[in-house]
Amino acid sequence: MPRKIVTWVVLAALVVTFVGILGASVADGALLPVNLTVGPITLQDVLFYAFAGLTVAGAGAVAFSRNILYSAIGLLFALMGAGSLYVLLSADFLAVTQLLVYIGGVLVLILFAVMLTNRITEVNISNASLGVAGAVALLVATVPVLVFIAVATPWAAHAAPALAPTTRDIGNGFLTRWLLPFELASLVLLATLIGAVVIARKELKQDEPDPSLG
């Protein structure tokens, strides 16, 4: 089963290479003499396709893997790829936050939950309940619609501005314009901290002795 993950990654790398070669040849006008591109592909394009392939491959592993542990590893790749893409969108602080909070925090929590709740010997605990037909129907219903909307809508997009660090602006925004939601977020986190501990602790019955006391 670990080979499955390796296969996913290798597959993503192959797809990325294929797209890159195809793009390069199209840019040269060798493959398609159509005026499809405005110039040779740049490093940014290659990086986007690499990280997007990684992200989609990871998300596919989350969605299709039968074993919940390999889903968690796929989630690692998906979050890492999305975080890398934030750098291409000049969101450097967000990329680091993604790395710290998601991969360092949420993913470790999820792995802990997997280890605590699964009997690891039971591999096939995560069967699909909707079935393959339902899953495929859902994908067929959502993906084309969303992709069509994303591609066909005439967004008011302008040429991408140059990449610039935004940490200073975010810090200023948090303490001026978004001060109230910032403080509320800290309140939410405190409530979460207490609530998670209260929910997850073991309740002691009155007639049972405390097991920690022996």
Partner: protein, 103 residues
């Protein structure tokens, strides 16, 4: 269309959202459902940051994405605590079992 633009990121966000939705709909394992929710939130975040970079400028979209990350972390912590409580009660995390209001 080969050059990376707004549409590329939107398509990526759409794919992340769809795969996450499929994960939420098909999993019986509660932890798997939470993973699907994380994928959905990440798809939304990609859209926020992409629109921020290509359309509006400034840092508004990035700040919103940061709040989404904060709430996703809170949701994961509380959700996994509930999953642990369900596991202690039912000795399983099959979400179909957790439809009773009391033990």
């Amino acid at each position: 269309m080969l050059h990376v633009g707004l549409q590329h990121f939107l398509v990526l966000g759409a794919l992340l959202f769809s795969l996450g939705l499929m994960t939420v709909a098909t999993r019986r394992n509660a932890v798997g459902v939470l993973m699907g929710v994380e994928l959905i939130l990440n798809g939304a975040n990609v859209n926020f940051v992409a629109f921020n970079h290509y359309v509006t400028g400034g840092v508004g979209g990035q700040v919103f994405a940061l709040f989404v990350i904060v709430l996703a972390a809170a949701e994961a912590a509380v959700g996994l605590a509930i999953v642990l409580a369900i596991f202690q009660t039912f000795r399983s995390i099959d979400v179909r079992l957790a439809d009773t209001m009391r033990e």
